[in-house]
């Protein structure tokens, strides 16, 4: 037996640091899904009729769809009738107007996670729209944003306050019938975030949402819609942790981005859902549909993600490059440890002229983790002079894990320029020994190598997020990598 295996073994036994459960009175639907549940959910949220119908249409379509089996992941079938489709902290009924009114226990939960809202808004200047068990309970910095005409609210609030915007853009990027999980989300989405940046406005601060799953057996169906009007600019941060659970939890979110002429949306994610224990028990199923439409000319959408959590990740943040000269970017770090499985990547669909896309994907596998990159670059007929650069790198730690790459390229215009680079490397014993010989511990060595491997992606994250991501990677690998 080589020492490396022992090392990896001991390292992989790190437990999930954020495993704790907050006991807040829940108002929860009994498990089960049918048209009445969809109606009840919509009624509970006092939604306009068109939205109820939209949900029902999605639900009826979903009934006819089959769960996809093409991803390179394996899990026990999900019983959709065993899931409760609504859960909200009761205190929300009274509607907290400020942080003072927010459940003290909830605030404590954030403190345990190291994300005190107070401190964050003071120190980082970040407005936080905290999503906790499907309902937003704290929204800050609203007035500052309001001054610039920026709308940043929970999805439910936006449905009440800006129905015309929701109706205009909802489902225009990810149709309610797009895929199995997107259709399910459309039928039963509970809440999420809505962002609207008016024409010519550069959003004065980074917008941040912390997602968190808390209630047992509650499927989480978040929905986010971001609209950037002509010449506007926004950077949005999404991060999450989840408490320790034994049963699997389903998380099927949808994110839609719309960038009009000369607009830019930067969407960054640090994902740390509970990955399951070291034997592969428990953990979140994270089946997410994220898509951005560069609808206007010279528009730009950039996805940056650091995925360290979830038992299973199924996620392809994509860009539809419709406007001429528009640009799509995808920077990703996906880490799988223990028995985690990730099938992630992106789709870049080039429609407009001179459209450009960049894909940088870094997969890190440790323990028994399986990591697949799945990407599609499609150059349509009218996309003159489209360019794509793709780079997919895999890093293996130990010899029980796996890395897989599934790149699809479909070019229908001969003027396209495509570049694809791929590499696979390992952290080998000699590298560890070399660093050990200089006095650097094995954990620090692995963390140093992994951070070095991922730095092209970390560079794309906003500063405070990059630090968090690096820390998260260390924690995720600390027992697994260091």
């Amino acid at each position: 037996m080589t020492p490396k295996l022992d090392t990896v073994k001991s390292l992989t036994e790190q437990e999930y640091k954020y495993g704790f459960v907050t006991d807040i009175e829940q108002e929860t639907f009994p498990p089960g899904l049918n048209e009445d549940v969809v109606r009840a959910l919509s009624a509970k949220k006092k939604e306009p009729e068109w939205l109820t119908e939209w949900r029902l249409k999605a639900y009826r379509h979903w009934l006819k769809m089959e769960e996809p089996t093409w991803p390179n992941v394996h899990y026990n079938p999900v019983d959709y009738q065993a899931i409760s489709y609504y859960s909200a902290p009761k205190s929300q009924a009274d509607g907290p107007q400020s942080l003072d009114e927010v459940d003290a226990e909830l605030l404590e939960t954030y403190n345990k996670l190291g994300i005190p809202l107070e401190e964050q808004k003071l120190l980082a200047g970040v407005a936080v729209d905290a999503v906790f068990d499907s309902v937003s309970v704290a929204t800050t910095f609203k007035s500052e944003l309001k001054k610039h005409g920026v709308i940043f609210s929970s999805f439910s609030e936006a449905v009440q306050n800006h129905p015309e915007l929701i109706q205009k853009y909802l489902g225009t990027v990810v149709p309610s019938t797009d895929n199995f999980f997107a259709a399910l989300n459309a039928a039963v989405f509970s809440d999420g975030s809505f962002v609207y940046i008016p024409k010519g406005v550069r959003c004065p601060m980074e917008l941040s949402t912390y997602f968190r799953i808390n209630a047992s057996n509650t499927g989480q169906f978040e929905r986010t819609l971001i609209v950037a009007e002509e010449g506007s600019h926004v950077s949005y941060l999404e991060g999450c942790t989840a408490p320790m659970r034994d049963e699997n939890q389903l998380h099927a979110a949808v994110v839609e981005l719309v960038a009009l002429d000369d607009a830019e949306i930067k969407y960054s994610t640090v994902q740390n859902w509970y990955p399951g224990d070291k034997d592969g028990k428990g953990g979140i199923y994270n089946f997410v549909t994220k898509r951005g439409a560069c609808r206007g000319k010279n528009s730009k959408i950039s996805w940056t993600q650091v995925e360290t959590g979830s038992a299973i990740t199924w996620k392809y943040p994509s860009c539809i490059l419709q406007g001429d000269n528009s640009m799509g970017q995808f920077y990703s770090v996906a880490l799988t440890n223990n028995y985690q499985q990730a099938d992630t990547g992106t789709k870049m669909i080039h429609l407009g002229k001179n459209t450009r896309s960049t894909i940088i994907s870094k997969g890190v596998s440790a323990g028994f983790g399986q990591n697949s990159y799945r990407g599609m670059v499609k150059i349509m007929k009218g996309a003159e002079n489209a360019r794509n650069y793709s780079q997919c790198d895999s890093l293996l730690i130990g010899d029980k894990c796996g890395a897989h790459t599934f790149p699809y390229i479909d070019v229908r215009n001969p003027s396209a320029q495509m570049e694809h680079e791929a590499s696979t490397s390992t952290i080998d014993e000699d590298q560890i020994f070399y660093c050990n010989q200089r006095g650097i511990s094995t954990e620090d060595t692995i963390s140093m190598i992994v951070n070095g491997f991922c730095k092209e992606v970390f560079r794309e994250l906003p500063m405070e997020f990059a630090v968090e991501a690096q820390k998260l990677l260390e924690v995720s690998l600390e027992g697994s990598v260091g």
């Binding site: 020492p3 490397s425 080998d428 000699d430 590298q431 020994f433 070399y434 660093c435 050990n436 010989q437 200089r438 006095g439 650097i440 511990s441 094995t442 620090d444 140093m448 190598i449 951070n451 070095g452 491997f453 730095k455």
Partner: protein
């Protein structure tokens, strides 16, 4: 400082060191010469603690402590440094970061304050001058795309920066042209001090022309076959190793 007694070491089941004895005191520079396969690199690796090299019997004492009880990083932190014959590349990790991590691990262990980025840069640039390395090197990944000579100079740079008490240089002269050889030898001479010991493992005597070895040992089939002064190196250069083999056979 270093006391090796009747050391037997196996590599992948094959016995390579067959009863080696060696004693090194502070201030001394020992040269260990021998043919390929005589066990030179095995000796270096077993001192540093590479786990491919298994001690079957005998012992290695360092300051009276049994080295076999210590992990490679503990050996390093207690002052043992090995210059690698083939330093590995670590893609993605830049030299500055690596050197700083190593230095601060050592400083922390010695109870000294860790060096911040600014102080470290000033410090390392001083050291780099001694081995004639350009500053661009700091921005490159550890040993990645380095020429043979650059790798060896990088090893000596780390020797100078980390200031160990016992340095084992495994064929640090191999693959170097004459200029690089001088730079490396100069670096080692710079490092030499009364409280530090150096073991130079080499194939050829030419690096020894630029150093002042106190003792020269010839390693033959896993044992020290002959020990002498600097003149022994010259003799080997003229006559090769075969006369020693004959001598050993006659014993």
């Amino acid at each position: 400082m270093l006391q090796i007694t009747n050391l037997h070491v196996n590599v992948e089941g094959e016995e390579i060191l067959k009863g080696l004895n060696l004693s090194v005191s502070p201030g001394e520079l020992h040269a260990i010469m021998g043919r390929n396969g005589s066990g030179k690199s095995t000796l270096a690796n077993v001192i540093a603690g590479h786990d491919k090299y298994k001690i079957q019997s005998g012992e290695i004492l360092y300051d009276g402590k049994d080295l076999s009880e210590m992990s490679p990083e503990d050996r390093s932190l207690s002052g043992i440094f090995m210059s690698f014959q083939y330093p590995v590349a670590i893609p993605g990790v830049n030299n500055t970061y690596f050197l700083k991590a190593a230095l601060n691990a050592q400083r922390k262990h010695r109870g000294e304050e860790e060096m911040d980025a600014m102080d470290f840069l000033t410090f390392i640039k001083e050291q780099m001058k001694k081995v004639e390395m350009g500053e661009s090197y700091l921005r490159r990944a550890v040993n990645e795309g380095f020429s043979g000579g650059e790798k060896k100079r990088n090893e000596i740079l780390q020797l100078l920066a980390l200031e160990p008490r016992l340095a084992v240089l495994d064929e640090t002269d191999s693959g170097l042209d004459i200029d690089a050889l001088k730079i490396v030898a100069h670096g080692v001479n710079n490092f030499r001090r009364d409280d530090r010991a150096i073991v130079v493992i080499t194939h050829y005597q030419r690096i020894l022309q630029h150093m002042e070895p106190d003792v020269i040992h010839v390693l033959l089939d896993g044992r020290i076959a002959k020990t002498g002064g600097k003149e022994l190196a010259m003799e080997l250069e003229e006559k090769g190793y075969s006369w020693l083999e004959e001598e050993a056979a006659a014993d």
